[in-house]
């Protein structure tokens, strides 16, 4: 059976892709494509914006208008697209290094601004493309090329950060469960305001190289075992939750989004400017 994904791959395909065998990025990209289709979006009115890194190569492969922007700045380009033309559906693809370190300031401000974008964080806890440096979501004590004695820093929880910063919709999926992941992304696209979907995944090449986490299959199995639905997590103690990844929806709010609010300013200003013209 031909799936939606084939229909959305770029006609002159830019394949083979850059991702390693066993990488989770393909699963997430496929979930995004299915979610866009399920949300009933006209593909001509979708713009996919990414930054720099393995995950940020994703837009090249799919048939939407796309901006492969600069490192950490996907949200800034996306904000420009959305504000300049609010009719467009704008989806942001970013990695945990791109989105949470160099792009971390843009992230919290996009949440605060509650601008109608959907951001999907391909979160594999490491910088893959540059050879395995510690990322801001790397669990404390794990190894990386820049953390040969184990990383000293505590990781960001992407969802807690987004929730506290005011995003309208915050959820976490995991690559080993693509169906709920797709649902979260669809909900995010449909939601007015800023939506964040953090996706827990694996990097079987680089993460495994520094942390001996095993082959891709083992890493996927381990990841699946770590994933705990938020409802269940709510009944567990902090000790029990150590090393687990809590999945599900963390925020689902209805605060007015930036561009809708701005439309009201335009309406009011038009009236005011007519009065000004008369007084000249």
């Amino acid at each position: 059976m031909k799936s939606a994904i084939h229909d959305y791959l770029r006609p002159k395909k830019k394949f083979p892709h850059v991702w390693c065998p066993g990488c989770g990025h393909g699963i997430i990209l496929a979930s995004i494509v299915r979610a866009i289709e399920a949300a009933g979006k006209n593909r001509d009115e979708v713009v996919v914006v990414s930054g720099i890194g393995c995950s940020s190569r994703a837009p090249v492969y799919v048939d939407f208008s796309s901006i492969h922007s600069t490192h950490g700045r996907a949200l800034t380009f996306a904000t420009g697209v959305k504000v300049a033309n609010p009719k467009l559906t704008v989806i942001v693809i970013s990695g945990d290094g791109d989105g949470m370190a160099i792009g971390g300031n843009h992230f919290i401000h996009a949440c605060r601004r509650n601008i109608d974008l959907t951001m999907i964080v391909f979160n594999n806890n490491i910088y893959g493309m540059t050879g395995g440096q510690a990322s801001p979501t790397m669990p404390q004590g794990d190894y990386a090329s820049t953390a040969p004695f184990g990383t000293l820093e505590r990781p960001f929880d992407v969802c807690k950060l987004a929730n506290a910063s005011g995003a309208n919709f915050v959820a976490r999926g995991v690559v080993t469960s693509p169906i709920p992941l797709e649902k979260h992304i669809k909900k995010g696209i449909e939601k007015k305001g800023f939506s964040v979907i953090d996706v827990a995944e694996t990097c079987p090449t680089i993460y495994n190289f520094f942390n001996k986490t095993g082959n891709p299959l083992k890493m996927m199995k381990d990841l699946k075992a770590k994933a705990i639905p938020v409802q269940k997590a709510n009944t567990m103690t902090e000790e029990e939750l150590k090393g687990k990844i809590v999945t599900g929806v963390f925020a689902d709010r209805y605060y007015p989004d930036f561009t809708t609010s701005y439309d009201k300013i335009i309406m009011d200003s038009a009236k005011r400017s007519m009065k000004d013209e008369e007084s000249i």
């Binding site: 208008s65 038009a270 000004d276």
Partner: protein, 387 residues
Amino acid sequence: MLFYKLYKDADGRKVGFVQGNEACVEAALLAGMRFFAGYPITPSSEIAAVSAEKLPMLGGRFIQMEDEISSMGAIIGGSMTGKKTMTATSGPGFSLKQENLGYAIINEVPCVIVNVQRGGPSTGLPTQIAQADVMQARWGTHGDHPIIAISPASVSQVVTSTIRAFNLAEKYRTPVILLMDETLGHMREKIVLPREDEIELIDRKQTEDTPEEFKPFATKHGDVPLFAPYGKGYRYNITGLIHDEAGFPTTKTDEVVSLLDRLHSKINDNLDDIVEVCEFQTEDADTLLVSFGSATRSCISAMEKGRAEGKKIGVLQLLTVWPFAEKQIVKLTEKIKNVFVVEMNMGQIIGEVSRCSHRDAVVTGINKYNGIYITPQEILEKVKESR
């Protein structure tokens, strides 16, 4: 809140007594700016404030971003939807914008970046004048690249230069830098805005290809590719990587070279259209003052004072600072051998002037960089000392 008011004169033109920064926004709106993203920074903040007030009146949109980098990213994203976009900043912010400026260059995204220069380096002299970002405007972003930078000298020149900046950005699909300075940004002068029927506006040429045929960086129509706004059925990719005509990353050596060559040739083959200078009494001059931006004003006064004393001084204003007015310097220094380069920095554009001047010309710098505007007397004294 606006701190100026425009009135209509008998010919239906808007007139006012406004700051350079305010004039910049009025002209940008006339030129068709409909999206502005910015971040607060002295001495350019009025540009953001006036944009915030006026853009929504015309159905345009303003956003205050979280930093300088994001403002630059946002105007690139906005421009990809087909809107004319602008941001404004000063030295420290201009430094931060450089990476994304390169992105706009390589992806041929029209946009205008205003740099109201102040003293540097670093935080420098936030409220005082300098013209020390000339070389940064040229070479601030990494890699080989062309750039267009325009430097007006009066508030009414801010109006014409801003409109021109948008027109050049659209015509050549490139970011254009409007190099102002603190004095120009904050001084008030009378302006008469042209009526809409009096200005020629250029919009980037749109493709007539079908989405299937369309290539975002196709060269079949010349060095400047035709544009398709996002959201209209042309689903294409742009990337900061070296890309092929279809917009996809490439490392093929011939494609690398053809992209870099074309980015340069689309500017360098059109210098007669892009490079604009103003000459003042150069016909009989034996001494030439070369300047740009607000320092030009003191040069003109120095010229007038000098001529009253019998000194044959002429002035060349580099209205277009980049690309450099090589041809004009070559021609003028064939007959004028006594050349002074007046700039409010420690000597930046003088290197270019020396490079292009006749070998018999003596090129001397007149520089002031203490944060205080250079006076005609100071220039005249330096000219006399050198004799």
